[in-house]
């Protein structure tokens, strides 16, 4: 078989050779290369034919022997190879020319195409459409978000929101149909034209336009504001300088000079570190200044008086002494500054010693209440003093705080005057402080005073200390309690359901009286559901001068009735109280005012009244004993006959005393431990109503909460006080019909 096959193949080869001889009327293949490689192919075939002769049974691949233009896919077979023949594989071996690639792609596509899916049912399609449309619209709508937010947060909305410009007819339109006719008009227009005055366009000359262009409104405003500020600063500075110049206090000037010298020294030291050469120059300058000073001084025994004295000195002892004094003074003056400052400190030390005797409270008393009626003072203890009082127990950190405040003052140029004042105040307080700490120390000069005044002083000191401490503690407690309570209540409020805004009843309230009744009803309701009153909180939120506040406040701030507690008013206290520099500064007017108030209330003894009131309050709060005696029961009764003492004792039921009053140790305070229902009707509930934004910091209500909306202030805050919604009547309408309906 195999031999036969081999013969056949040889025969076929021969035929091919014959075919080759034929003129090339049709191409064997599309590529020319194949023609060139014909020889090789023949050779290959031959080899194959020979190899098949060896008898081994080789499978013969079917071959296409005929070349034709139409290649049917059915002719291609893949016999022999185990795999399925893929059409594209047939095209593989040939070099991938572009034309083949496209064919391949097409074939691939044909292969990958699946059956077309069923169209979605209508509902599904609609749903998808809807979803897409909804997403699109809601996206489009979110462009309104910022505007809506702005409107919601606006403090005031004026409707209509965008004002339509009232339709002005531009002047060109008006003028277009008009011509200058009379000679005068013509003349005027001539003039206008000559001067380049605009006739039609917005009535601005080119110069004006240029100026307009040069600076925008905002720039101009900014510049104006800057100028204003500069002017204000200048005026402040001038005023300050004037004021300082007017100050006659030598001490003040001394302090000032010293401060300047110190500053210069400091700067010099700094300079020394930075650049020694410059420092040298500076040193020279300083030296020169000192020399100048020295030369100019009149203590050199070179003046007329000194010369005359020198002549006299030979004979007169006094004159000699005077000269010596002068010389000593000269030495003193020409010495370095530090020595001088030292001596001053010593002086101050002496002063301090003086003050050691005077406790804090006394000074305050004197400060606040040098008149008989301290209640009528315009201000309570000044702010600085209050700070002092609060800080007393914790002394160490104080200097730091002061420094901080100083540095702050330096930063702020406007507050410099204030800083100066503060400095003085601090100096005063610092001087006073040792008095508190060292009161255990025996002070030498005490012996000189009489013993009664000493007692008084020690008592005062102790009391004042106690008071200070207590004040401090109580404020602390208040704050902390308020802090702990608040969030809890907030939560409660959040939990609670929104209560109806209206209180609907089947009764009418038409007259003022009925409304008044309503209000009362409100407080009764309150009574029914009594809430534990958190005093501290209420006090905290309560504005300074709230209805009930004015009654209590002054009582609390009073430290003075100590004065009253002491039966004898020692004159020594007054003499001891140190006059402070602040007082010197006091304006004449203020003094007048004080004087007037003093005179007006000269007769009243407010403190005594207060004490009386307190006594009454204490009495009223004490539980009363119950007397159950029946006169005439078991014995004779009648006019002038009293039940026997024994009986009375028997039937008197004593009620145990309650806990001690909270104000027992506070002589200057009345603490009312009962909740006053009448006041409660007018007090805001401790808890902010749920959803009450107005109590958040930053809101208008927060700012104004503690103070009155006076009519004057109202004018200042006008834009805020106006109602939240202002709708202009009928301007929503386009036509100009009068729209006031009634």
């Amino acid at each position: 078989m195999s031999a036969l096959r081999a013969e056949e193949s040889l025969l076929a080869l021969r035929q091919q050779e014959e075919l080759e001889d034929l003129p090339k009327e049709y191409p064997l293949s599309t590529s020319e290369d194949e023609g060139d490689s014909d020889g090789e192919r023949k050779h290959q075939k031959l080899l194959e034919a020979i190899s098949s002769l060896d008898g081994k049974n080789r499978r013969k691949l079917a071959e296409r022997s005929e070349a034709s233009l139409k290649v049917s896919e059915f002719n291609v077979s893949s016999e022999g190879s185990g795999e399925k023949l893929v059409l594209s594989d047939l095209l593989e071996p040939g070099k991938t020319s572009s034309s083949l690639a496209t064919v391949k792609k097409q074939l691939n596509r044909v292969k990958s195409k699946k059956t077309v899916e069923l169209p979605l049912n209508k509902e599904e399609v609609e749903r998808i459409h809807r979803e897409v449309a909804f997403n699109k619209t809601s996206q489009a709508l979110s462009k309104w978000d910022p505007i809506v937010l702005k409107n919601r947060q606006a403090e005031q909305l004026v409707f209509p929101l965008k004002k339509e410009q009232s339709a002005f007819a531009p002047i060109e339109h008006v003028l277009s149909g008009w011509k200058a006719r009379t000679p005068m008009e013509q003349e005027i227009f001539n003039l206008l034209h000559k001067n380049k005055q605009p006739v039609t366009d917005p009535l601005l000359t080119p110069v004006e336009k240029a100026s307009l262009r040069a600076m925008s409104l905002e720039e101009a405003k900014m510049r104006r504001a800057e100028l204003q500020r500069a002017r204000a600063l200048q005026s402040y500075y001038e005023a300050r300088a004037r004021r300082e110049k007017k100050i006659k206090s030598k001490k003040y000037h001394k302090v000032l000079k010293k401060g300047k010298a110190k500053k210069a020294l400091k700067e010099f030291e700094k300079l020394q570190k930075v650049s020694p050469s410059a420092a040298l120059e500076e040193l020279e300058k300083i030296e020169k200044a000192r020399m100048m000073e020295r030369m100019s001084l009149k203590h050199q025994n070179s003046g007329k008086w000194a010369k005359s004295k020198a002549i006299m000195a030979k004979y007169d002892l006094e004159a000699r002494q005077a000269l010596q004094e002068q010389l000593a003074r000269n030495k003193e003056l020409t010495q370095k500054l530090q020595a001088a400052s030292k001596s001053e400190e010593e002086e101050e030390g002496a002063e301090e010693e003086d003050e050691l005797l005077v406790p804090d409270a006394v000074n305050e008393v004197r400060m606040n209440a040098d008149g008989p009626n301290p209640w009528m003072l315009r201000n309570g203890p000044s702010e600085a003093e209050e700070v002092d009082i609060q800080k007393d127990p914790e002394q160490p950190p104080e200097p730091v705080a002061h420094e901080a405040s100083e540095s702050e003052g330096e930063e702020n140029p406007v507050a410099e005057e204030e800083m100066l004042l503060k400095e003085l105040e601090e100096r005063r307080s610092l001087r006073k402080k040792p008095g508190l700490n060292q009161d255990a120390k025996p002070v030498g000069r005490r012996e000189t005073k009489d013993s009664s005044s000493q007692e008084v002083l020690s008592e005062l000191r102790a009391l004042s200390q106690k008071l200070n401490k207590e004040n401090h503690r109580s404020t602390k407690q208040k704050v902390s309690s308020a802090r702990t309570v608040l969030p809890v209540q907030r939560e409660e409020a959040a939990d609670e359901e929104e209560e109806p805004m209206l209180l609907q009843r089947p009764e009418r309230a038409r007259t003022l009286d009925e409304l008044e009744e309503l209000g009362r009803e409100g407080c009764f309701q309150d009574k029914e559901h009594p809430r534990p009153a958190v005093n501290g909180q209420w006090l905290e939120r309560k504005p300074n001068n709230q209805p009930s506040a004015p009654k209590e406040k002054p009582k609390k701030e009073q430290m003075i009735d100590l004065q009253n507690l002491l039966s004898t008013k020692s004159p020594s206290v007054k003499s001891l109280a140190v006059p402070t520099t602040v007082e010197e500064w006091e304006d004449e007017e203020e003094k007048d005012q004080r004087q007037m108030i003093k005179e007006a209330f000269a007769g009243d003894d407010v403190i005594r009244d207060f004490l009386k009131e307190k006594r009454e309050a204490v009495e009223a709060s004490k539980p009363k004993d119950v007397d159950l005696t029946l006169p005439g029961w078991g014995e004779w009764g009648g006019v002038g006959l009293m039940p026997s003492a024994k009986k009375r004792r028997r039937f008197l039921i004593k009620i145990p005393e309650g806990p001690p009053r909270k104000d027992k140790n506070l002589p200057n305070v009345i603490i009312n431990e009962k909740r006053n229902i009448h006041a409660a009707a007018h007090q805001v509930r401790e808890r902010a109503p749920s959803g009450c934004l107005s109590l958040l910091p930053g809101s208008l209500a927060w700012e104004e909460g503690s103070s009155a909306l006076g009519s004057r202030r109202m004018r200042d805050l006008d834009h805020r006080i106006k109602s939240v919604l202002v709708s202009l009547t009928g301007s929503e309408m386009n036509n100009s019909e009068s729209t006031l309906l009634f």
């Binding site: 809807r130 209180l503 009843r505 409304l515 309701q525 202030r713 009928g730 309408m733």
Partner: protein
């Protein structure tokens, strides 16, 4: 020598006009006026009282209809003109300043279901039970002419509502489906439908004018987009919504008046939950309309009252009612935001002030200043109980009052039942106070505090809290 002269600025002591008060120099230093705040408190109290005394919101009643008023429409250009359609097919146009009917026409047979004006105010549209849409001229016919509509469109089904586009010559009707019409054509441009129930009202969004909202009898509120001619989204509520109204200032907010006595304000981008549920009515809410400021809306109810709600509050700030006013079917807020009109069953249209105690007419500047000041005072002291009590008081007719009480009780009961879950009261023999048994802190703030439900078995007490059941052994004797 320099002589110092007194020189004063006349601005400080001369009044501006002779109508002003004389100027009195005054020191405004707050420390000099410690009683300023108490004084202001009294002023606020008085202002509140006066506000209640002068709260007389009812202005006028317009009578003339011979059947219940079914729909109202505002004139877009004239504040004083109002249109109303009645249940007998009559349409009347009213002049509010004169409080008179200026024109009456028999528009339909049967109900006038809907009425709306064209944005230019020259004509208006009505739909009725006779399956027609009619366009009418705003001005009446000349002498001798007959009253005839400009156009009439005969439809296949009944139309139940109509609304006109805010800017274009397009209007929408509803009935079986929502139809968008061009004014010039007799066939709708497009019809949109979602569900099969009849649609009771359709409203154009005043800002994004291509948006529409409608509510159907199958408890749905459906939103449509006119440009894309598809419905967008729907939300299903517990009960049927009677009508919706878009907020004129906030494009995506609308409020739905529902049969379950509540109003629901929705953000149309998030329909899962309403932004706010407004409750206070005691019967189905039939109509709602926004104030042009977009801050408040008014609702009309079947309970014979109308209420004004702030948009961001769940409770009403005002309730209006009169003895003779029956079920209020339609309500409108005038475009100057000062008045409210309502049409009711008993054939009258009533006119109310939006602010009950507002003074009408032109105010002098001093009056205005005083008003502002008083307003501010009232605001400042509003939380003081005395003032609050007076400001909140409203008179209610007995029927509504008792209904409120009844519903409150019902609500309570429902809540208890809900909290109890499947345990119902009837299963248990008695109740005892929890406070006697235990002082459990966790139960303190729970709504059912103080109540313990005890099983018939004498040894255990079930207390259900949000955390689960607690068992308390109880002796029989303690019960």
């Amino acid at each position: 020598m320099k002589v110092k002269m007194l020189s004063r600025n006349p601005d400080n002591y001369v009044r501006e006009t002779k109508l002003d008060l004389q100027r009195v120099p005054r020191n405004y230093d707050p420390t000099l006026h410690p009683f300023e705040v108490p004084r202001e408190y009294m002023r606020a109290l008085n202002a509140t009282k006066l506000e209640r005394v002068f709260a007389k919101p009812f202005l006028a009643s317009l009578d003339g209809h011979r059947d219940g008023v079914n729909c109202l429409a505002k004139h877009p250009k004239s504040l004083a003109t109002v249109l109303s359609g009645a249940c007998d097919g009559e349409v009347r146009i009213w002049n509010l300043t004169k409080r008179k009917c200026i024109r009456a026409l028999q528009a339909h047979e049967g109900f006038v279901r809907g009425i709306c004006t064209r944005f230019c105010g020259t004509s208006f549209f009505t739909v009725g039970d006779d399956k027609t849409v009619k366009q009418w001229k705003m001005d009446g016919p000349g002498f001798g002419e007959e009253e005839e509509p400009l156009h009439t469109i005969l439809g296949k089904t009944v139309y139940t509502g109509i609304d006109h586009h805010w800017k274009e010559a397009v209007f929408a009707t509803c009935g079986q489906q929502v139809d968008i019409w061009d004014e010039q054509r007799t066939n709708p441009i497009c019809s949109m439908t979602w569900g099969f129930d009849s649609i009771s009202s359709v409203k154009f969004n005043p800002i994004e004018t291509f948006l529409l909202g409608s509510c159907a009898s199958d408890r749905n509120i459906v939103l449509y987009d006119m440009r894309q001619a598809t419905p967008l989204k729907k939300v299903i509520l517990d009960m049927r919504t009677n009508t919706i109204c878009w907020n004129p200032m906030e494009a995506f907010i609308f409020t739905a008046a529902n049969e379950d006595y509540n109003l629901y304000t929705f953000d149309m981008r998030a329909l899962d939950t309403p932004v706010m549920v407004h409750m206070d009515h005691v019967s189905a809410v039939l109509d709602v309309d926004y104030s042009p400021t977009g801050k408040e809306f008014v609702s009309a109810s079947f309970d014979k009252s109308i209420r004004i709600f702030p948009v961001d509050k769940g409770r009403s700030r005002e309730v209006y009612h009169t003895k003779r006013m029956q079920h209020v079917i339609c309500v409108k807020w005038t475009s100057d935001s000062k008045y409210i009109m309502c049409g009711s069953d008993e054939m009258n249209i009533r006119l109310w002030k939006a602010n009950a105690s507002e003074k009408l007419g032109v105010l002098t500047s001093r009056e205005k200043a005083a008003k502002d000041y008083n307003q501010k005072l009232k605001e400042k002291f509003q939380h003081h109980p005395h003032i609050k009590r007076i400001a909140r008081h409203r008179h209610l007719p007995k029927s509504i009052y008792s209904q409120i009480q009844e519903q409150r009780i019902m609500r309570e009961a429902r809540r208890r039942k809900y909290v109890l879950g499947h345990l119902t009261l009837s299963q248990y023999s008695f109740l005892t106070s929890l406070s006697q048994l235990t002082k459990n802190k966790q139960t303190k703030n729970l709504p059912f505090k103080g109540i313990v439900y005890v099983l018939l078995s004498p040894l255990e007490v079930f207390l259900k809290t949000s955390l689960g059941f607690f068992l308390f052994p109880v002796k029989r004797g303690e019960q």
